[in-house]
Protein backbone atom coordinates (compact mmCIF):
# COMPACT_ATOMS: atom_id res chain seq x y z
CA UNK A 1 0.00 0.00 0.00
CA UNK A 2 3.01 2.29 0.41
CA UNK A 3 5.90 2.06 -1.99
CA UNK A 4 9.12 4.08 -2.21
CA UNK A 5 10.97 3.66 -5.52
CA UNK A 6 14.40 5.29 -5.81
CA UNK A 7 13.29 8.18 -3.65
CA UNK A 8 15.74 11.01 -3.06
CA UNK A 9 15.35 14.06 -0.92
CA UNK A 10 17.63 17.03 -0.46
CA UNK A 11 17.62 19.95 1.96
CA UNK A 12 19.61 22.38 -0.15
CA UNK A 13 22.93 20.55 -0.60
CA UNK A 14 22.25 18.05 2.14
CA UNK A 15 21.23 14.65 0.78
CA UNK A 16 18.68 13.57 3.38
CA UNK A 17 17.25 10.47 1.70
CA UNK A 18 19.43 8.44 -0.64
CA UNK A 19 17.76 6.20 -3.16
CA UNK A 20 15.15 4.76 -0.81
CA UNK A 21 13.36 1.60 -1.90
CA UNK A 22 10.81 0.34 0.59
CA UNK A 23 7.36 -1.11 0.54
CA UNK A 24 4.83 -1.53 3.30
CA UNK A 25 1.95 -3.97 3.23
CA UNK A 26 -1.47 -3.72 4.78
CA UNK A 27 -1.60 -4.98 8.36
CA UNK A 28 2.14 -4.78 8.77
CA UNK A 29 3.94 -3.30 11.76
CA UNK A 30 7.26 -1.88 10.61
CA UNK A 31 9.72 -0.40 13.07
CA UNK A 32 12.24 2.12 11.77
CA UNK A 33 15.38 2.65 13.81
CA UNK A 34 18.66 4.41 13.31
CA UNK A 35 20.88 7.12 14.76
CA UNK A 36 19.71 10.72 14.70
CA UNK A 37 20.16 12.35 11.33
CA UNK A 38 19.70 9.00 9.59
CA UNK A 39 16.61 10.21 7.72
CA UNK A 40 14.08 7.97 9.46
CA UNK A 41 11.74 10.79 10.49
CA UNK A 42 12.14 12.43 7.08
CA UNK A 43 11.19 9.17 5.38
CA UNK A 44 8.12 8.89 7.60
CA UNK A 45 7.06 12.49 6.99
CA UNK A 46 7.25 11.96 3.23
CA UNK A 47 4.47 9.38 3.48
CA UNK A 48 1.85 11.99 4.40
CA UNK A 49 3.41 14.75 2.37
CA UNK A 50 4.71 16.83 5.27
CA UNK A 51 8.00 16.59 3.38
CA UNK A 52 8.26 16.71 -0.38
CA UNK A 53 10.51 14.34 -2.30
CA UNK A 54 12.91 15.52 -5.00
CA UNK A 55 12.93 12.49 -7.24
CA UNK A 56 11.77 8.90 -7.50
CA UNK A 57 8.19 7.80 -6.93
CA UNK A 58 6.26 7.40 -3.72
CA UNK A 59 2.92 5.65 -4.01
CA UNK A 60 0.44 5.76 -1.12
CA UNK A 61 -2.76 3.76 -1.61
CA UNK A 62 -2.01 3.69 -5.34
CA UNK A 63 -1.74 7.47 -5.59
CA UNK A 64 1.50 9.05 -6.74
CA UNK A 65 2.33 11.50 -3.97
CA UNK A 66 4.75 13.51 -6.05
CA UNK A 67 2.46 14.04 -9.07
CA UNK A 68 1.34 17.60 -9.62
CA UNK A 69 -2.37 16.83 -9.65
CA UNK A 70 -2.27 14.87 -6.40
CA UNK A 71 -4.47 16.29 -3.69
CA UNK A 72 -2.43 15.80 -0.52
CA UNK A 73 -5.47 16.35 1.68
CA UNK A 74 -7.24 13.30 0.33
CA UNK A 75 -4.15 11.19 1.09
CA UNK A 76 -3.76 12.64 4.56
CA UNK A 77 -7.31 11.68 5.46
CA UNK A 78 -6.16 8.07 5.17
CA UNK A 79 -2.74 8.43 6.75
CA UNK A 80 -2.78 9.21 10.45
CA UNK A 81 0.23 10.60 12.23
CA UNK A 82 1.35 10.61 15.85
CA UNK A 83 4.09 13.12 16.68
CA UNK A 84 6.93 13.11 19.16
CA UNK A 85 5.49 16.17 20.89
CA UNK A 86 1.83 15.05 20.57
CA UNK A 87 0.75 18.38 19.04
CA UNK A 88 -2.68 18.27 20.62
CA UNK A 89 -4.72 21.42 20.13
CA UNK A 90 -4.30 23.26 23.46
CA UNK A 91 -7.45 25.35 23.02
CA UNK A 92 -9.69 22.31 22.78
CA UNK A 93 -10.74 19.62 25.24
CA UNK A 94 -9.71 16.01 24.73
CA UNK A 95 -12.99 15.06 23.08
CA UNK A 96 -12.87 18.13 20.83
CA UNK A 97 -9.33 17.24 19.77
CA UNK A 98 -10.54 13.83 18.67
CA UNK A 99 -13.77 14.92 16.96
CA UNK A 100 -12.55 18.06 15.15
CA UNK A 101 -11.28 16.46 11.94
CA UNK A 102 -14.04 13.82 11.63
CA UNK A 103 -16.65 16.59 11.89
CA UNK A 104 -14.95 19.21 9.72
CA UNK A 105 -13.04 17.07 7.22
CA UNK A 106 -15.16 13.92 6.94
CA UNK A 107 -18.40 15.88 7.59
CA UNK A 108 -19.50 13.33 10.15
CA UNK A 109 -22.56 14.00 12.23
CA UNK A 110 -21.25 15.55 15.51
CA UNK A 111 -23.17 13.09 17.66
CA UNK A 112 -21.81 10.13 15.70
CA UNK A 113 -18.29 11.58 15.83
CA UNK A 114 -18.62 11.97 19.60
CA UNK A 115 -19.69 8.36 20.03
CA UNK A 116 -16.78 7.12 17.90
CA UNK A 117 -14.39 9.37 19.83
CA UNK A 118 -15.61 8.01 23.16
CA UNK A 119 -15.06 4.47 21.95
CA UNK A 120 -11.52 5.35 20.86
CA UNK A 121 -10.79 7.21 24.10
CA UNK A 122 -11.92 4.15 25.99
CA UNK A 123 -9.54 2.07 23.92
CA UNK A 124 -6.60 4.29 24.90
CA UNK A 125 -7.82 4.49 28.53
CA UNK A 126 -8.51 8.20 28.40
CA UNK A 127 -12.31 8.31 28.46
CA UNK A 128 -12.39 9.60 32.04
CA UNK A 129 -10.40 12.65 30.92
CA UNK A 130 -12.47 13.50 27.87
CA UNK A 131 -13.39 16.98 29.11
CA UNK A 132 -9.88 17.87 30.27
CA UNK A 133 -7.61 20.20 28.35
CA UNK A 134 -4.18 19.00 27.11
CA UNK A 135 -2.35 21.22 29.62
CA UNK A 136 -4.01 19.24 32.44
CA UNK A 137 -2.63 15.93 31.19
CA UNK A 138 0.74 14.19 31.47
CA UNK A 139 2.79 13.56 28.35
CA UNK A 140 1.80 9.93 28.20
CA UNK A 141 -1.87 10.83 28.53
CA UNK A 142 -1.56 13.45 25.80
CA UNK A 143 0.11 10.95 23.51
CA UNK A 144 -2.69 8.44 24.03
CA UNK A 145 -5.21 11.14 23.13
CA UNK A 146 -3.12 11.91 20.03
CA UNK A 147 -3.34 8.24 19.04
CA UNK A 148 -7.13 8.37 19.46
CA UNK A 149 -7.20 11.54 17.35
CA UNK A 150 -5.31 9.74 14.59
CA UNK A 151 -7.58 6.70 14.78
CA UNK A 152 -10.73 8.84 14.61
CA UNK A 153 -10.12 9.42 10.90
CA UNK A 154 -10.17 5.64 10.42
CA UNK A 155 -6.86 5.76 8.53
CA UNK A 156 -5.46 2.89 6.51
CA UNK A 157 -2.07 3.41 8.14
CA UNK A 158 -0.85 5.14 11.28
CA UNK A 159 2.60 6.74 11.32
CA UNK A 160 4.43 7.18 14.62
CA UNK A 161 7.31 9.63 14.78
CA UNK A 162 9.26 8.78 17.96
CA UNK A 163 6.04 8.66 19.99
CA UNK A 164 7.74 7.95 23.33
CA UNK A 165 10.92 10.02 23.04
CA UNK A 166 9.49 13.06 24.79
CA UNK A 167 7.84 11.12 27.61
CA UNK A 168 8.75 10.58 31.23
CA UNK A 169 9.91 6.96 31.67
CA UNK A 170 6.96 6.02 33.87
CA UNK A 171 4.39 6.99 31.25
CA UNK A 172 6.07 5.29 28.28
CA UNK A 173 4.59 1.86 28.98
CA UNK A 174 1.00 3.16 28.91
CA UNK A 175 1.61 4.46 25.40
CA UNK A 176 3.43 1.34 24.25
CA UNK A 177 0.62 -0.85 25.60
CA UNK A 178 -1.89 1.05 23.48
CA UNK A 179 0.37 0.73 20.43
CA UNK A 180 0.80 -3.00 21.01
CA UNK A 181 -2.95 -3.38 21.29
CA UNK A 182 -3.40 -1.64 17.95
CA UNK A 183 -0.70 -3.78 16.36
CA UNK A 184 -2.41 -6.96 17.52
CA UNK A 185 -5.71 -5.72 16.13
CA UNK A 186 -4.12 -5.60 12.69
CA UNK A 187 -3.55 -1.86 12.33
CA UNK A 188 -0.96 -0.99 9.70
CA UNK A 189 1.74 0.90 11.55
CA UNK A 190 5.07 2.44 10.67
CA UNK A 191 6.87 3.34 13.85
CA UNK A 192 10.05 5.36 14.21
CA UNK A 193 11.26 4.49 17.70
CA UNK A 194 14.13 3.29 19.84
CA UNK A 195 11.87 1.00 21.87
CA UNK A 196 13.41 -2.36 21.03
CA UNK A 197 11.05 -4.19 23.35
CA UNK A 198 8.12 -2.96 21.30
CA UNK A 199 9.93 -3.84 18.06
CA UNK A 200 10.61 -7.39 19.17
CA UNK A 201 7.20 -8.00 20.64
CA UNK A 202 4.92 -6.75 17.87
CA UNK A 203 7.17 -5.61 15.04
CA UNK A 204 6.99 -7.63 11.83
CA UNK A 205 10.19 -6.14 10.52
CA UNK A 206 12.88 -3.69 11.40
CA UNK A 207 14.24 -1.13 9.01
CA UNK A 208 17.62 0.19 10.05
CA UNK A 209 18.58 3.50 8.48
CA UNK A 210 21.85 5.41 8.58
CA UNK A 211 23.07 8.46 6.68
CA UNK A 212 19.89 8.68 4.63
CA UNK A 213 20.00 5.08 3.45
CA UNK A 214 18.16 1.90 4.30
CA UNK A 215 20.93 -0.39 5.58
CA UNK A 216 18.92 -3.36 6.77
CA UNK A 217 15.32 -4.37 6.29
CA UNK A 218 14.59 -7.69 7.95
CA UNK A 219 12.42 -9.70 10.27
CA UNK A 220 12.41 -8.02 13.68
CA UNK A 221 13.62 -10.93 15.80
CA UNK A 222 16.28 -11.93 13.28
CA UNK A 223 17.60 -8.42 13.13
CA UNK A 224 17.61 -8.10 16.88
CA UNK A 225 19.54 -11.31 17.40
CA UNK A 226 21.92 -10.93 14.53
CA UNK A 227 22.34 -7.54 12.89
CA UNK A 228 24.58 -7.78 9.80
CA UNK A 229 25.85 -4.27 9.31
CA UNK A 230 28.52 -3.04 11.74
CA UNK A 231 26.66 0.27 12.15
CA UNK A 232 23.52 -1.62 13.09
CA UNK A 233 25.45 -3.71 15.60
CA UNK A 234 26.98 -0.62 17.14
CA UNK A 235 23.65 1.21 17.27
CA UNK A 236 21.83 -1.74 18.78
CA UNK A 237 24.56 -2.08 21.40
CA UNK A 238 24.14 1.54 22.40
CA UNK A 239 20.38 1.58 22.78
CA UNK A 240 20.26 -1.70 24.60
CA UNK A 241 22.85 -0.56 27.11
CA UNK A 242 20.70 2.47 27.78
CA UNK A 243 17.51 0.48 28.27
Amino acid sequence: MIEFKNVNKYYGDYHALKNINLSFKKGEVAVVIGPSGSGKSTMLRCINGLEDINDGTLMVNNIDLHANDTNLNSIRKNVGMVFQHFNLYPHMSVIENVTLAPIKVLKQDPEKARQTAEKLLKKVNMLDRKDHYPSQLSGGQQQRVAIARGLAMNPSVLLFDEPTSALDPETIDDVLDVMKKLAREGMTMIVVTHEMGFAREVGDRIIFMAEGQVIEDRDAVEFYENPHDPRAKQFLGKIIHHA
Binding site: S74, R76, K77, M81, H85, P90, H91, V105, M153
Partner: protein, 215 residues
Protein backbone atom coordinates in the same frame (compact mmCIF):
# COMPACT_ATOMS: atom_id res chain seq x y z
CA UNK B 1 -12.63 75.27 34.37
CA UNK B 2 -16.36 75.34 35.06
CA UNK B 3 -16.55 78.51 33.04
CA UNK B 4 -14.63 76.89 30.21
CA UNK B 5 -16.99 73.93 30.18
CA UNK B 6 -20.15 76.04 30.24
CA UNK B 7 -19.02 78.05 27.22
CA UNK B 8 -17.04 75.51 25.23
CA UNK B 9 -18.37 72.24 26.60
CA UNK B 10 -20.47 71.68 23.47
CA UNK B 11 -17.43 72.06 21.21
CA UNK B 12 -15.34 69.70 23.31
CA UNK B 13 -18.14 67.19 23.35
CA UNK B 14 -18.47 67.41 19.55
CA UNK B 15 -14.72 66.82 19.23
CA UNK B 16 -14.93 63.95 21.67
CA UNK B 17 -17.76 62.29 19.72
CA UNK B 18 -15.90 62.78 16.41
CA UNK B 19 -12.74 61.27 17.88
CA UNK B 20 -14.72 58.35 19.27
CA UNK B 21 -16.47 57.69 15.94
CA UNK B 22 -13.25 58.06 13.95
CA UNK B 23 -11.48 55.66 16.34
CA UNK B 24 -14.22 53.05 16.06
CA UNK B 25 -14.26 53.23 12.25
CA UNK B 26 -10.46 53.18 11.96
CA UNK B 27 -10.23 50.34 14.48
CA UNK B 28 -12.80 48.27 12.62
CA UNK B 29 -11.15 48.63 9.21
CA UNK B 30 -7.56 48.46 10.43
CA UNK B 31 -8.41 45.19 12.21
CA UNK B 32 -9.80 43.71 8.99
CA UNK B 33 -6.95 44.94 6.79
CA UNK B 34 -4.28 44.23 9.40
CA UNK B 35 -5.50 40.67 10.03
CA UNK B 36 -5.63 39.89 6.31
CA UNK B 37 -2.22 41.38 5.64
CA UNK B 38 -0.77 39.61 8.69
CA UNK B 39 -2.09 36.25 7.46
CA UNK B 40 -0.72 36.91 3.97
CA UNK B 41 2.68 37.70 5.48
CA UNK B 42 3.01 34.09 6.59
CA UNK B 43 1.37 32.52 3.51
CA UNK B 44 3.24 30.19 1.18
CA UNK B 45 2.29 32.24 -1.89
CA UNK B 46 5.42 34.27 -2.60
CA UNK B 47 3.59 37.02 -4.48
CA UNK B 48 0.97 37.58 -1.77
CA UNK B 49 3.66 37.42 0.89
CA UNK B 50 5.84 39.96 -0.92
CA UNK B 51 2.95 42.34 -1.41
CA UNK B 52 1.91 42.08 2.23
CA UNK B 53 5.48 42.62 3.43
CA UNK B 54 5.87 45.67 1.19
CA UNK B 55 2.61 47.14 2.51
CA UNK B 56 3.71 46.67 6.11
CA UNK B 57 7.23 47.99 5.58
CA UNK B 58 5.95 51.05 3.76
CA UNK B 59 3.32 52.19 6.24
CA UNK B 60 5.20 51.08 9.34
CA UNK B 61 8.05 53.39 8.42
CA UNK B 62 6.28 56.56 7.33
CA UNK B 63 5.06 59.04 9.96
CA UNK B 64 1.30 59.01 10.41
CA UNK B 65 1.15 62.75 9.74
CA UNK B 66 2.70 62.30 6.30
CA UNK B 67 0.13 59.65 5.38
CA UNK B 68 -2.74 61.80 6.62
CA UNK B 69 -1.44 64.88 4.80
CA UNK B 70 -1.08 62.82 1.65
CA UNK B 71 -4.78 61.98 1.76
CA UNK B 72 -5.74 65.51 2.77
CA UNK B 73 -3.66 67.42 0.21
CA UNK B 74 -2.46 65.11 -2.60
CA UNK B 75 -5.41 62.72 -2.89
CA UNK B 76 -7.99 65.50 -3.65
CA UNK B 77 -5.75 66.86 -6.44
CA UNK B 78 -5.86 63.61 -8.44
CA UNK B 79 -8.71 61.47 -7.20
CA UNK B 80 -11.57 62.88 -5.21
CA UNK B 81 -12.28 65.68 -2.82
CA UNK B 82 -12.30 64.53 0.78
CA UNK B 83 -12.36 66.54 3.99
CA UNK B 84 -9.83 66.44 6.80
CA UNK B 85 -11.94 64.10 8.92
CA UNK B 86 -12.18 61.49 6.14
CA UNK B 87 -8.52 61.90 5.19
CA UNK B 88 -7.64 61.41 8.85
CA UNK B 89 -9.69 58.24 9.17
CA UNK B 90 -8.18 56.76 5.99
CA UNK B 91 -4.62 57.64 7.03
CA UNK B 92 -5.12 56.36 10.56
CA UNK B 93 -6.64 53.11 9.27
CA UNK B 94 -3.77 52.40 6.87
CA UNK B 95 -1.10 53.35 9.39
CA UNK B 96 -2.58 51.28 12.21
CA UNK B 97 -3.30 48.30 9.92
CA UNK B 98 0.46 47.93 9.31
CA UNK B 99 1.07 47.65 13.06
CA UNK B 100 -1.83 45.25 13.49
CA UNK B 101 -0.51 43.13 10.59
CA UNK B 102 2.85 42.85 12.35
CA UNK B 103 1.12 41.89 15.59
CA UNK B 104 -1.01 39.26 13.87
CA UNK B 105 2.00 37.86 12.00
CA UNK B 106 3.95 37.52 15.24
CA UNK B 107 0.92 35.89 16.86
CA UNK B 108 0.58 33.29 14.11
CA UNK B 109 4.30 32.57 14.19
CA UNK B 110 4.07 32.23 17.96
CA UNK B 111 1.88 29.13 17.54
CA UNK B 112 4.22 26.10 17.44
CA UNK B 113 4.85 24.68 13.94
CA UNK B 114 3.63 21.28 15.11
CA UNK B 115 0.08 22.63 15.28
CA UNK B 116 0.03 23.27 11.53
CA UNK B 117 1.50 19.81 10.92
CA UNK B 118 -1.09 18.19 13.16
CA UNK B 119 -3.89 19.97 11.31
CA UNK B 120 -2.54 19.11 7.87
CA UNK B 121 -1.95 15.49 8.79
CA UNK B 122 -5.62 15.02 9.73
CA UNK B 123 -6.68 16.13 6.26
CA UNK B 124 -7.32 19.84 6.84
CA UNK B 125 -6.24 22.25 4.13
CA UNK B 126 -3.83 25.05 4.98
CA UNK B 127 -6.67 27.55 5.31
CA UNK B 128 -8.86 25.23 7.36
CA UNK B 129 -5.94 24.63 9.71
CA UNK B 130 -5.51 28.39 10.00
CA UNK B 131 -9.17 28.85 10.79
CA UNK B 132 -9.78 26.02 13.26
CA UNK B 133 -6.36 25.54 14.84
CA UNK B 134 -3.84 28.35 14.33
CA UNK B 135 -5.90 31.55 14.56
CA UNK B 136 -7.84 30.60 17.71
CA UNK B 137 -4.47 30.12 19.44
CA UNK B 138 -2.90 33.19 17.85
CA UNK B 139 -5.69 35.39 19.23
CA UNK B 140 -4.56 34.71 22.78
CA UNK B 141 -1.00 35.68 21.94
CA UNK B 142 -2.15 38.76 20.07
CA UNK B 143 -4.62 40.29 22.54
CA UNK B 144 -2.13 42.14 24.80
CA UNK B 145 -0.09 43.78 22.00
CA UNK B 146 -3.31 44.44 20.07
CA UNK B 147 -4.66 46.34 23.06
CA UNK B 148 -1.63 48.60 22.89
CA UNK B 149 -2.31 49.22 19.20
CA UNK B 150 -5.92 50.17 19.98
CA UNK B 151 -4.78 52.66 22.61
CA UNK B 152 -2.21 54.09 20.20
CA UNK B 153 -4.86 54.43 17.54
CA UNK B 154 -7.08 56.56 19.78
CA UNK B 155 -4.16 58.76 20.81
CA UNK B 156 -2.80 59.01 17.25
CA UNK B 157 -6.16 60.30 16.04
CA UNK B 158 -5.04 63.63 17.54
CA UNK B 159 -3.09 64.30 14.32
CA UNK B 160 -6.49 65.07 12.79
CA UNK B 161 -6.01 68.50 14.35
CA UNK B 162 -3.34 69.23 11.72
CA UNK B 163 -5.77 68.73 8.84
CA UNK B 164 -8.85 70.46 10.28
CA UNK B 165 -10.11 67.05 11.32
CA UNK B 166 -12.81 68.33 13.75
CA UNK B 167 -11.59 65.94 16.43
CA UNK B 168 -11.05 66.48 20.14
CA UNK B 169 -7.54 67.87 19.67
CA UNK B 170 -8.69 70.19 16.88
CA UNK B 171 -11.36 71.76 19.07
CA UNK B 172 -8.94 71.85 21.98
CA UNK B 173 -6.48 73.90 19.94
CA UNK B 174 -9.30 76.17 18.82
CA UNK B 175 -10.52 76.80 22.35
CA UNK B 176 -7.00 77.29 23.70
CA UNK B 177 -6.20 79.93 21.11
CA UNK B 178 -9.49 81.72 21.71
CA UNK B 179 -9.43 81.71 25.51
CA UNK B 180 -5.66 81.59 26.18
CA UNK B 181 -6.61 79.17 28.95
CA UNK B 182 -4.16 76.56 27.75
CA UNK B 183 -3.84 74.76 31.08
CA UNK B 184 -7.59 74.32 31.52
CA UNK B 185 -8.25 73.43 27.91
CA UNK B 186 -5.56 70.81 27.46
CA UNK B 187 -6.39 69.30 30.84
CA UNK B 188 -9.97 68.87 29.67
CA UNK B 189 -8.77 67.42 26.36
CA UNK B 190 -6.52 64.95 28.18
CA UNK B 191 -9.39 63.88 30.43
CA UNK B 192 -11.63 63.29 27.44
CA UNK B 193 -8.98 61.03 25.86
CA UNK B 194 -8.78 59.11 29.12
CA UNK B 195 -12.53 58.57 28.98
CA UNK B 196 -11.91 56.50 25.84
CA UNK B 197 -8.55 54.89 26.54
CA UNK B 198 -8.94 53.82 30.19
CA UNK B 199 -12.08 51.70 29.64
CA UNK B 200 -10.44 50.30 26.50
CA UNK B 201 -7.37 49.26 28.51
CA UNK B 202 -9.56 47.58 31.10
CA UNK B 203 -11.62 45.84 28.45
CA UNK B 204 -8.50 44.40 26.81
CA UNK B 205 -7.19 43.21 30.19
CA UNK B 206 -10.55 41.56 30.82
CA UNK B 207 -10.48 39.88 27.39
CA UNK B 208 -6.95 38.64 28.10
CA UNK B 209 -8.04 37.08 31.40
CA UNK B 210 -11.12 35.48 29.87
CA UNK B 211 -9.14 33.87 27.06
CA UNK B 212 -6.37 32.74 29.38
CA UNK B 213 -8.86 31.07 31.69
CA UNK B 214 -10.09 28.79 28.93
CA UNK B 215 -7.17 26.41 28.95
Amino acid sequence: MIELLSTYGGMLLRGFVNTLIASVIALFFSMIIGTLVGILQVSKNKFAKGLANAYVQLFLNIPLLVIVLFFYVVFPMYVANINGYTAGIIGLTIYTSAFIAETVRAGIQGVPAGQMEAGLSTGFTYWETMRYIILPQAIKIVIPPLGNQFINLVKNSSVFAMVAGLDLMYYGDLIASETFNTFGTYTMVALFYLVITLPLTHFMQYAERRLAAKD
